[in-house]
């Protein structure tokens, strides 16, 4: 069994948490701002769902609001399917290091988007954190489907501060 390589898996919602689980057909994408399913989005002041940044840390001035459910080509402004992110929403994603242990539960970190795959991954750091690891693969899937020592999936959630910033101003 081969190892799971870094940045192989895009983040996805694994446990939706309380509240509305899906929102869609309410938010339009902005022309010129193309994104793919799995990208993290904010709600721009003009009412558009818009991409945020490739590095998501607490320096980000705008709140994280959604994860895209579908690709958006940015050609015409159409409604896009998005899923709301709450402080309860738990995501499944990879960490940038090759292994995680139970000692990583409770650690904080930032998100970085790999330029090649477009996939976000968690970077464990105490500097400007926006997410918190709530569970690790050795806990919820201990049978080791991949080679030993290659547990690098985690469940994480956003820190409330990352979701509660003032809305972004329009960039158009």
């Amino acid at each position: 069994m081969a190892n799971r390589t870094d940045y192989q898996v895009q983040i996805r919602v694994a446990k939706p948490g309380a509240g509305d689980v899906l929102t869609k057909d309410v938010y339009k994408g902005r022309v010129g701002d193309d994104f793919n399913a799995g990208d993290l989005l904010t709600l721009e002041q003009g009412g558009f769902a818009e991409t945020v940044a490739t590095t998501i840390d607490s320096d980000l001035a705008i709140p994280i609001r959604f994860i895209a459910l579908e690709d958006f080509d940015g050609v015409t402004s159409v409604n896009v399917g998005v899923q709301s992110i709450t402080a309860d929403t738990k995501f499944l994603g990879q960490v940038s290091t090759s292994t995680v242990t139970v000692a990583d539960i409770g650690k904080r970190g930032t998100l970085a988007q790999d330029v090649t795959t477009g996939n976000y991954h968690v970077v464990i750091t105490d500097t400007n954190p926006v997410v918190e690891i709530v569970d690790v693969e050795p806990n919820f899937s201990p049978e080791g489907r991949y080679a030993t020592g290659n547990y690098n999936l985690v469940l994480f959630k956003f820190l409330p501060a990352a979701l509660e910033k003032a809305p972004a101003t329009s960039s158009t």
Partner: protein
């Protein structure tokens, strides 16, 4: 028209970013096919269950204890002498546990309504396959780490790794014993050593307790080596005409190629794995059960929820009467 292509691996299409099977996910599946969309889920062999016994239980944990028979030999004693008494001793016990596993799938109603390609179908079967895969990998993990090279999923009742040396005996009078074979390539010599070691085993009181090897489990990479070894009349790699002992003693039909065995190791079964001598058991408290219903999850009448729940655990007692093994030097 291009007649000469250069291979370039595609980036994997990612899972739906939602926890639900959404209409967007269905449309994305449509984009990737046309009139017909293939669900590429092949049948895979489930192999691990042949090595374990199953036990239905009501409780989720418990302790198994054991006792030993009468030990030693009958002492010399004349009729008029005072009688010498013997009594039974306790053996090693172990604790067993079962664990709850759950997973769910949710499908948006509209995705089902517009689905004409079967994208939203077969989810219950898929959940059950996930359960079977879990069982498979749990058993595989047991064997892949049986010698404790990176810890082990389970310890035997004596507190040692499933395959280990210097194993204690419950009778303090008895020496330690081993079911660990020396690391070596599979050869006539290594098979003979295993056979000899099995016949030299001792019981819990230190008495000779000869065992015979009934089945051999190897990883797929050793299939060719083993086949050649067991089907060659003469000793491999020898100029002499000496007969090949392994070919006469073992039979390929008693060799199990275990595809999920990824560690370079070999196991020798001393009993039929389904015999009660095998104390590697799955305790099943709850068989996998699927509940399906609109609004079952997410409290939304337009989300078809399905959830699988099962409660079971792999547990190990004693290994003396069942298994020996060790690491092998891979030949392929």
């Amino acid at each position: 028209m291009n007649w000469t292509f250069t291979a370039a691996g595609k980036a994997a299409p990612q899972n739906s970013s939602s926890h639900l099977t959404t209409e967007e996910a269905f449309r994305a599946a449509l984009d990737r096919g046309f009139d017909k969309v293939i669900e590429r889920m092949g049948d895979q062999p489930w192999e691990g269950e042949q090595f374990v016994r199953f036990q239905k239980v009501d409780r989720d944990s418990g302790k198994v204890t054991s006792f030993r028979g009468l030990t030693g030999t009958v002492p010399l004693s004349r009729d008029g002498d005072e009688m010498q008494f013997v009594s039974k001793g306790l053996g090693f016990g172990y604790n067993w546990n079962t664990y709850t596993r759950r997973v769910a799938a949710g499908i948006e109603r509209k995705a089902m309504e517009i689905d004409d390609i079967g994208y939203t179908k077969g989810m219950q079967k898929g959940l059950l396959e996930m359960h079977k895969r879990s069982v498979e990998y749990v058993i595989a993990d047991y064997f892949n780490r049986a010698t404790g090279q990176s810890g082990s999923q389970l310890l035997a009742a004596d507190g040692m790794f499933p395959i280990d040396n210097a194993r204690p005996n419950p009778n303090p009078d008895a020496p330690t014993w081993s079911n660990l074979e020396a690391t070596a390539a599979i050869s006539e010599d290594s098979l003979f050593a295993a056979s000899l070691n099995a016949s030299q085993q001792i019981d819990e009181d230190g008495n000779l307790f000869p065992q015979t090897i009934k089945k051999v489990v190897i990883r797929p990479g050793e299939r060719g080596t083993m086949w050649t070894l067991l089907n060659s009349k003469g000793v491999l790699g020898s100029n002499y005409n000496n007969a090949n002992w392994a070919a006469g003693f073992f039979d390929m039909k008693n060799v199990i190629v275990y595809d999920y065995l990824t560690t370079d190791s070999i196991f020798y079964w001393l009993c039929d794995p389904k015999d009660e001598d095998n104390e590697l058991m799955i305790f099943k408290r709850k068989e996998p059960e699927i509940k399906t219903g609109w609004g079952l999850l997410a409290s939304n009448p337009d989300v078809l929820g399905m959830r699988l729940r099962a409660d079971w655990g792999l547990n190990l007692g004693d290994v003396r009467r069942s298994i020996r093994g060790g690491l092998v030097t891979p030949t392929t």
